[in-house]
Symmetry: C2
Subunit: 489 residues, 2 copies
């Protein structure tokens, strides 16, 4: 970017995603984590005097956030984003099209009844997507409260037109394309069928800096289980990728497509996977005409998290008193290792007064012989009061710690986890069992067991939603969906 | 009230209660009813240029309203209550005290970031009371959105100080005491123990017109099962009584206490009880110094509802073709009666374009001989498409229609229903069974069956909440409550 572009021509945007508000809200230790860091993010926005905040989905952890979660989120937005500060960019697109599927048809800062200091723009993720008969998302509530501009809401999943928000600040023109989460398989097919259309402005066609905000799988997760960057149009300049929790905030250049991709990652660890233990960031993106500059900002309130893989053979201590049994030795060695990890976690502390004290610790201990298993519950209890997650600190796994995969690029980590049967394995297994059961029944000619209303895939999708997102209307929704929409998948 | 008091000295208040937003929101026919009438109420407020809207609780039907319900409510409030119209009264009380237990400490129209045209003030009812670890009510969400001023929120139920909102408009002084719903038994004991304190302003002590907004049982419902008007302080001038759904909007004078009580009633029928079939109203209350005037305004969008009790002997048709069986004759007679009721309901239609077309019909048919029972499901099916509630139109009850009770004053109706075993009988029975079960176990010396954490009453209260209000945290809440609060009941 050129040195010192005139400030009145430069967009300053705070980019964040996957704040998962309300994650573990009832946990006695971790209950506040998501809110504390969300507040830090808003604080960063205000301190840096940004023009707007751009969120990549999963603002909330649950499709139906509790009253407490909604209320705390709204209180923070009200505190940080309302006020007298003038907004110094204008929207020149047809807002009726930008907000076609939300009740609020005008950005909050243009509404004469609201005094907005920092407009927040967000798409939905898979955790806070529209649901129920009326396709209402928790973001619709925030939009109605004048606190968030909810864009990229698509309700017809057979045809996805994307009309960008067109923003002008001085000499800079910025178009923001939003695409709220759609099931990856479906979205892949929509791309293949040419049903995802990016409508570029005709005026000053080549002068716009084009951002896409998307919330999909990026890491390879089986056939059509993720969105390949190559499916996205080359006219884009910067893609802000939500959903993936690993922080890869520094924009990565895709030479084939000639665009950059940045993946800010989550601001709260919602699983004890290795990717969540990377230092978490948000970023300030400055845009001047067709140039941009990204400044990652480390989040200082995130609970320290140390993840490690080890083999039983590595933790076995050579103990002088060899009266001890093998498992006692393993336990002693693992204890030492966890103590080291706690030290490492505490060394990560930033000094921010709101950063929580107790760290998250996850040790994956690999064993080959069942005799090497130690009592996990008893082991974890030792760390009660020293870690934030005493109930799930230690995971014992049969096999050998795959250091190769571990050293592999982060993008492959999630895939590796699936192959290793860890991440999401519960879902996958249950779904496989359901599928297998119905297949068997059909093979045996038990026609009575054939599903008439939903396909097995549909049933599984509904069950997953009910369990993962506590969305009790999921089955209902899917049944209606199947009957009202032409089948794509 | 004196003729033509100067307008700048007169408070004009729209009073409504129990709008139960979201009642039957997923019902294919009745889903919109609560919202349609809520909009009518807001419209009345705007058309009559009222200073404020005062709600008596149960704005929402469920403790945790769905995103759709919240969103629709907020959209309507935003549409009708935000705007440039100036608010012409001032608040002179200490708002920190008025809003002690809510996050917003200032009325919405005084917040420079919100442009409020009609301030709405509400207490909570038993359907939208604070819940969860953080004592959050759906009204807190509306308060945070700048749409409602939520007052009368008490979180310590061992001591209830009531600091009134003190409003001044020209020469009139109005104090509004708010008391959000508390379980009746508990509140009775708090009154007896002198723990409910109304803090009157010292300045111009006698010049205030004193309103109390309350949401409790008013009709007698067993010992300490309701609040007796005699428990309320005589310094009050007008009591606005929520919770009771029968519309008794004309203020009734209590000569002993020298105050008036008005009971606006619900704006949507949430049960098929006779009281809900009374014409529904809101009211505009005008206050000039110590005088007031109440103008009831009939609601024109309420779904017509006709309720009737009849004995089998009354509907038996003398049919020339006496081949027909007794039950066929009863069925034919009841059909005729229902047809009459539908006609009566249609005659009640107001012509309001938004009033729903299909009426609610409830026929309670009393029989003495089991042989007089007709097939209810088949009977109801005849009226599919002609009524809004085909699945529960007919109720058959053993006994004789108690016309005396029916003709009795409305206040006794609910009590009568309980005695007749109709209203709330499901609850009462289940609770009784639970109680009986544990009593028996204890009598038999089965100490293992003694409850250790919750009393049977507590368990029952929690279960009722879970079922009636879909509050999944109810048990959790009650357990915490028992451990943290000194026992009163």
């Amino acid at each position: 970017m050129i040195d010192d572009p005139p400030e009145e021509d430069v967009f300053s945007i705070l980019v964040a995603t996957d704040t998962h508000l309300g994650y573990e809200v009832d946990h006695p230790v971790r209950g506040n984590d998501s809110f504390v860091t969300f507040e830090e993010i808003l604080h960063i926005g205000r301190e840096n005097d940004v023009d707007l905040i751009l969120l990549g989905g999963d603002l909330f952890h649950l499709t139906k956030p509790s009253a407490e979660t909604l209320h705390r989120c709204m209180s923070l937005l009200r505190q940080y984003c309302m006020g007298d500060r003038p907004v110094s960019f204008e929207i020149v697109s047809d807002q009726e099209k930008n907000f076609e599927n939300t009740t609020q048809k005008v950005v909050n800062y243009e509404d004469p009844n609201y005094n907005v200091s920092i407009p927040v723009f967000s798409i939905h993720g898979n955790h806070d997507d529209p649901t129920g008969q009326s396709n209402t998302s928790a973001l619709d509530i925030l939009s109605c409260a004048g606190l968030v501009n909810y864009f990229g809401k698509c309700v017809d999943v057979t045809d996805v037109p994307i009309n960008p928000l067109l923003l002008r600040k001085g000499k800079s023109l910025l178009s923001i394309y939003g695409l709220g989460h759609i099931v990856d398989k479906r979205l892949c097919r929509l791309f293949e069928a040419g049903k995802v259309n990016f409508y570029q402005p005709e005026e000053q066609h080549d002068d716009w800096f084009n951002i896409l905000v998307i919330h999909q799988n990026r890491a390879a997760r089986g056939v059509k289980g993720y969105i390949d960057e190559s499916a996205l149009p080359g006219m884009l300049d910067l893609i802000i990728w939500g959903h993936e929790h690993d922080c890869r905030v520094e924009p990565e250049f895709n030479a084939t497509k000639n665009f950059h991709v940045m993946q800010p990652g989550s601001s709260v660890a919602t699983s004890l996977a290795e990717g969540e233990s990377l230092p978490k960031h948000v970023a300030i993106v400055k845009i001047y005409k067709k140039q941009f500059e990204c400044t990652p900002i480390p989040l200082e309130t995130v609970r320290p998290f140390v993840f490690r893989d080890a083999n039983v053979s590595e933790v076995l201590m050579e103990n002088p008193k060899d009266l001890k049994s093998l498992t006692e030795k393993i336990e002693e060695g693992a204890t030492k290792l966890v103590q080291e990890m706690i030290k490492e976690a505490l060394a990560k502390k930033t000094g921010h007064p709101k950063q929580p004290a107790l760290p998250l610790i996850r040790l994956r201990l690999f064993f080959e012989d069942e005799g090497d298993m130690i009592n996990i519950v008893r082991f974890n209890q030792k760390f009660e009061g020293s870690v934030a997650n005493p109930t799930d600190l230690l995971l014992m796994k049969k096999g050998i710690a795959d250091k190769k995969v571990k050293r592999d690029v982060l993008a492959r980590e999630v895939l590796a986890d699936i192959l290793n049967g860890e991440q999401e394995n519960w879902d996958v297994k249950i779904e496989d069992y359901v599928q297998k059961y119905f297949n068997e029944q059909e093979d045996n000619g038990n026609d009575l067991f054939r599903l008439n209303v939903l396909s097995v895939t549909g049933l599984n999708a509904g069950l997953s939603r009910m369990v993962d997102l506590q969305d009790n209307n999921a089955i209902d929704f899917i049944v209606k969906y199947v009957f009202h929409c032409p089948r794509i998948s």
